[in-house]
Amino acid sequence: MGDSSRCSICGQPATVDLTQIDAGKFTKVHLCDACAQKGGATDPSVFKLADALAAPSAPAAIVCPACGFTDVDFRKRGRLGCPACWTVFADALGGLLSKVQHDAAHQGRAPAGSSGAAGPARVRLESARRELEAAVKAEAFETAARLRDEILRLEAVVKSS
């Protein structure tokens, strides 16, 4: 992939050679110290992610009310600020998850003491209400609509038990 002595991103002299095996394809990337640091090149899964996220460079438009993390921070770091960020950035993350994960919906375990019927519904109801609040504050309306539907459903479950 290009001149191996130059950084694939900025053209500075390269000091890091990164080989990624992705979907069966071997890709070689050459990086300078600065870009390798920035992209977390010691961690290939993250580097690929940071790469995919680096393209759009708009000013911060979404801020997590819980921790102050912004969408610009996410593009820079490839990691989120706090658990509430998952609600705040839900719309933006949906597309990414469909690329890096099997499916956008969790299958599997729930924390001990939270699985079952009404108990977990009540717990989830509380957190869904908090998430809705954060989503509305962040103007993530698609997420807010989904949460509203989930809350209606959960309220019915809790009521019927």
């Binding site: 990164l18 095996i21 992705d22 979907a23 069966g24 394809k25 071997f26 090149a41 010691t42 961690d43 290939p44 899964s45 993250v46 992610l49 921790c67 993390f69 921070d73 770091r77 490839g78 990691r79 989120l80 600020g81 706090c82 658990p83 998952w86 609600t87 993350l93 990414l96 998850l97 890096v100 994960q101 099997h102 499916d103 956008a104 919906a105 969790h106 299958q107 599997g108 375990r109 729930a110 924390p111 001990a112 003491g113 939270s114 977990p120 989830r124 957190s127 998430e131 989930e150």
Partner: protein
């Protein structure tokens, strides 16, 4: 309690000799978990990280599994000690690089929980050999014991919430460390790695992410954590590991049959080199020890010698060489020490003979 105690104690990877297997060196389960309502370690303030560390360590040391275990705060350890822990796979490079991290390690070194790595908690269980079910069982027990005490960040839709989107959902990384000299020598490893990659499995080197494969050792793990249950993830990995182990044996048997004397010659040369070298780099010793391990598996050397080879692979890593001498050494001095330790350990090894396996 020091890292030296960890090095010298009887433990899962260097003392479970009965559990040793020809191809699968070890099995690992990792669960990423976070406390709800607190920023992830990479975005939190020092006081918040301290709060997380306090709460997590208090809950962890109360668990029976960590009785008489080790609690290690990275800020209190020397550089060399931290590197030893990384080489032992007890903590990650990321945890060792930061000052806010801590680790709680069970006495037998089967379980290690990292606190304030990329996520608040990384629960790890390692078993020598191929033991996915029992490793999972222990991780599940730890998860169940910790969840009510700590209150994990969880969403019904997305599962366990993590700092990185590549871990969300189950937070589960299931992996096996494989020794694949047959596939490497026969030139089939690239093809196998491509097949694994196409089906959602990552292939990495000896020390995990971002490392080269030395000594023909590879770590194979699931890439995706969301959208499949823990059981499906384990079943998927197990199916592939079984397949790769079969391919490895096929490759070995073909090599042994086709190469004849050359197969024995390779083992004999590795043994000769290791027994006489005065300077050994860690890469050279790993690659030569890999050939000896293959020779033990194939009956060119007695199988019971494999444990010595495995110990030398672990103890030949740079920080281990220094920790065992008890002094910091430059790279040349390490190569001298490593060569001396290998010569001593292989002194009474018999000559390599024809394969019997």
């Amino acid at each position: 309690m020091s890292v030296r105690d960890i090095l010298q104690a009887e433990n899962e990877l260097t003392h479970m000799l009965g559990a040793q297997q020809p191809v699968v060196l070890s099995t690992r389960i990792r669960l990423a978990r976070n406390l709800s309502g607190l920023p992830f370690p990479g975005w939190s303030k020092p006081a918040q990280r301290e709060e997380v560390a306090e709460r997590c360590l208090r809950s962890l040391v109360a668990l029976p599994r960590f009785r008489r275990g080790h609690v290690l705060r990275m800020a209190e350890l020397a550089d060399l000690d931290r590197t030893v822990l990384v080489e032992r796979h007890l903590v990650s490079k990321e945890l060792a690089a930061g000052k806010a991290g801590a680790a709680v390690i069970s006495r037998d070194q089967t379980c290690s929980v990292m606190v304030n790595e990329e996520d608040h908690l990384r629960i790890q269980v390692v078993k020598a050999g191929w033991h996915l079910a029992s490793a999972w069982q222990i991780a599940e027990q730890l998860d169940d014991a910790l969840a009510p005490r700590l209150g994990f960040a969880f969403s019904e839709r997305l599962g366990y919430l993590t700092a990185c989107p590549t871990n969300v959902g189950t937070g589960l990384r299931a992996s096996a460390m494989l020794h694949l000299p047959g596939l490497c020598l026969s030139g089939h490893m690239d093809k196998v790695a491509r097949g694994l990659g196409q089906d959602g499995l990552a292939v990495r080197g000896w020390l995990g992410e971002g490392t080269e494969a030395v000594g023909n050792v590879f770590q194979i793990s699931n890439q995706q954590t969301l959208g499949r249950s823990e059981e499906e993830i384990r079943r998927h990995l197990a199916g592939w590991i079984k397949h790769v182990v079969e391919q490895e044996w096929n490759a070995r048997r073909r090599l042994a049959a086709d190469e004849g004397e050359k197969f024995v010659d390779r083992a004999a040369r590795a043994l000769g080199l290791l027994r006489h070298a005065r300077l050994l780099t860690s890469a050279e010793s790993m690659n030569m020890l890999s050939l000896l391990r293959l020779a033990c598996d194939m009956g060119c050397l007695p199988e019971e010698r494999r444990s010595t080879v495995d110990r030398l692979m672990i103890e030949g890593q740079p920080a281990h060489v220094q920790a065992l001498v008890g002094a910091e050494l430059d790279s040349d001095a390490r190569d001298v020490r490593r060569a001396a330790a290998v010569r001593e350990a292989l002194r009474d090894f018999p000559e390599a003979g024809p394969p019997t396996a």
